[in-house]
Subunit: 370 residues, 3 copies
């Protein structure tokens, strides 16, 4: 069903049909070089991703690749087919990390169009997709839904949105039901936690490796954790990261083109903001070792080179999964140029909030080691 007329410059809204599937190009073997560069770019310190003995002490055969690096690489694969001509990435839902990925694994990804909604302005539409990422054994390692605003082709011969028809059903696109997502990933779906992770964890070993004293059983809900550090992002920081992910969305790379855009400059890839906020959250949530799910999230304001990021985490729900590990649903908020630890934060303005992310992390439990 892939259009035979694909242009290197990507698709537009009118090129898509419900049920259409893309097998994205550029399979990628993840090397220790990729992992080292990612870690340095975001200042990661989670020992699960940088200590072979620690990973083995948790039952992993070797160091697993950082969940968010897997996400960014998988996401990057989808850009040429889905969001090369995107106006904005509107939201994520039901993102689940199914299996760990290791150095030497090769990832590829597919995307299915699951919803289409033409906007009334006639210039853009919203494309809803489900993307899946697989390893070299075709095992699903990651799945997520997102919706993205895409330009319509500037072509007078195109039918108006109200006449577009779903290629599968023949029904008008406007009549197709849009997908509905759960508010968050249910604990029963956090398969990775049950099957793969922390099989042999000991909270004393974990504390020595992470430096963190807060375990799953200690977490108080609805108490914000203001992470102490801030991190300034410079131009090469984010373009190097986004090129590492092989994400080609031009808004991040082409300052000549962006001079004439609304903001007059390159935008930082939203996924990089997620990674940096997660890295900042290490100080205070050292034992939130893996990301099991991204329940939803939005980039509430754009971020530019020179901005300094801060993060606040607020635990919202928690579920013990087994004797070793629990799942913690967190609200992770990112701010720019306003430190939540200082008095200035009472004056933080709405346009300084850059990230609102609802994610579920896995934390070892304290009890099983005492």
């Amino acid at each position: 069903m892939k259009p035979s007329t694909r242009q290197p410059a990507g698709y537009f809204f009118d090129d898509y049909a419900i049920g259409q599937t893309f097998a994205h190009a550029v399979p990628r073997t993840i090397t220790s070089g990729d992992s080292a560069l990612y870690q340095a770019l975001i200042g990661a310190r989670n020992p699960l991703h940088c200590s072979e003995p620690f990973a083995q002490s948790l039952g992993y055969p070797s160091v697993p690749v950082d969940d968010l690096l897997v996400f960014h690489i998988a996401f990057g694969k989808t850009v040429p087919d889905i969001s090369y001509n995107a106006v904005a990435n509107l939201g994520y839902a039901d993102c689940r990390f199914i299996k760990p990925v290791f150095i030497g694994d090769t990832l590829h990804a597919t995307t299915k169009i699951i919803g289409l909604k033409a906007n009334s302005n006639g210039k853009t539409g919203v494309v809803y997709v489900r993307s899946d990422c697989f390893n070299q054994r075709d095992e699903l390692v990651l799945t997520w839904a997102r919706w993205v605003m895409v330009h319509r082709q500037a072509d007078a011969s195109l039918p108006p949105a109200s006449l577009l028809r779903n290629t599968s059903t023949g029904l008008p696109v406007e009549a197709s039901p849009l997908p509905i997502f759960d508010e968050f990933v249910a604990p029963a779906q956090l398969e990775s936690a049950i099957q793969f992770q922390f099989s042999t964890a000991d909270s004393g070993v974990v504390e020595r490796a992470t430096g963190g004293t807060l375990f799953f059983d200690d977490v108080a809900l609805d108490q914000p954790i203001k992470h102490p550090a801030g991190m300034t992002i410079d131009e090469t920081d984010h373009t190097l990261a986004t090129k590492l992910y092989q994400n080609t969305a031009r808004v991040h790379f082409d300052s000549h083109h962006m001079e004439n855009s609304r903001f007059g400059r390159r935008l930082i890839y939203g996924g990089q903001i997620i990674s940096i906020c997660r890295s900042l959250a290490f100080d205070g949530l050292e034992n939130a070792l893996t990301v099991a799910a991204i329940n939803g999230g939005s980039h509430t304001n754009p971020t530019f080179a020179g901005d300094t990021l801060y993060a606040v985490s607020t635990p919202r729900m928690k579920w013990p999964l087994n004797a070793n590990v629990g799942a913690l649903r967190l609200q992770l908020d990112g701010y720019k140029n306003c430190d939540p630890n200082l008095a200035e934060f009472v004056n933080v303005s709405a346009d300084q909030k850059v990230l609102s992310l609802d994610l579920t992390v896995l934390m070892p439990r304290r009890s099983y080691s005492t």
Copy 2:
């Protein structure tokens, strides 16, 4: 024949003699870290260099190192002995990629002086060299010629250029014949294509991995392919790349020194412009999997941090080499701050063209898989 008086600050024009040979220092083992950093710096997506299964499907034992990374590392080795005091790199010829290089291989290089021409200004001369790069088994992997303008030593005791004598022949340097190069590498010389590459390629497999539908047999000559993306280069982008290549030419690194130069700032290493234009050319020439030869080329204008690069490829000649693969001679032109896809390009000025490169790439053929 290596001068025993070598200074750490490099040689000057009058230090060279025809036939003189340099065994360059600093052998280099290429790691997956080098490869990952290179890929991220230029935004490469060619799956031959980032997917182990894809490389193996083409008959390679493992992922080969990007040809241009090999070139830059080999080139970097020659800088301390050849172009540390260069004014400008004037041209390349007869550059042939002989054998693939793999992660773990160790490269070293030699250079022979093949021509000398003192300039009439008495201050500079042109040095013609042939450089060869070998792996740890002393197998030739890459060979190229270049000519470079080098300062004469500011030393009144030196003979005028007209009295310089070739140390081998005793003849005046001015009388030495300058080397003559073919316009392009003949297909019969593209040894690597015949012996090493694409032995088991299947164009269906290739298309799924690269996303490209244009195969050797489909290419129309003399039809420019305007690549859709642009890429802005920031200061750390190019200095980090050039340090990765262990290229020490000071014009790239020392802004204090460059403040008093003609341009008042650091220059970007021309090889980096080649790499970025090749990376931009992936969208549209996804199946141009390897570089077999650089026939010639020049850096027509300098590039600086902040410039945005665009690329246009024009196929000029094509030769089927065997049932699996053909060679395509391309003109690759690079422009700064003017997008060839936009109307503004009719006003592109001569000083916005930064690269004119004549190269030969290898592309799988479509026919053998149908």
Copy 3:
């Protein structure tokens, strides 16, 4: 003895007691990716760290990790517990590189408080520490002492410094003797040289790999070696390096916070200045293959993005250690924005000197191969 009330934002002067020991978090497996990124960030060319065959020709089983990368990673581990709230790193002493570290080794570190001195201003104190770094077999690979000025907590309930008591002895902190360090590491203590390094070196092999003709026996004492190159540091250069080291000191990363500091901007991590000066020193001291000790040193002025560094080495003492190798004590001075090779250097001002480092390097001897 680790305080149970540890905050993610680090400790203050009054939290420390003599004899207290910290087992730092975040063990780190060093990968070829870490090594490649380090090499590119500082422009390193020492073939011992980038050529597998050369390392093996010296008797190493494989490429050892650059000594200073080991130092920075070990140092980074200590920051959260020791210098997160540091005003300034005042000095180093008795730093010894005991055993080589290889790709795949996992490092962890401990620190013991060995001296405390409250400053009379009541706002800061000096903490003297001994830090040790171990590999995954708990073998000591590196040890060093440093002293650092740390803020006192802004808390009226704290006792004045004069009443602080050592938790071990019960004596007033002011009465504790401060540690005394030797001026330099004695040759007998350079264990690594004797036991591990250059066991099979041949100076002809070394010269071909390094390009350097100056061997241990050739070095003239008290003759400054002005290294020819300069290197400009941009913002991403130093933040990427410091994040690679997992060093979290906020003065390097948070430009929003630093806007209100004395300098109004981010400071470059002093260790990065050491690495860059050592890299610049390769041209002229190509055969100074490893660092055996850092005898002492100070960062005499801060360095900022945009500054260009230059280096001058002055050999001060030399000791033959065995038939293969000698130890050379060097004074390594770093300057910013003033090239020691130019006439301008006579006007260099005191605030342009950024590094005064006293280190001992190991160099192969010429004699044993003739």
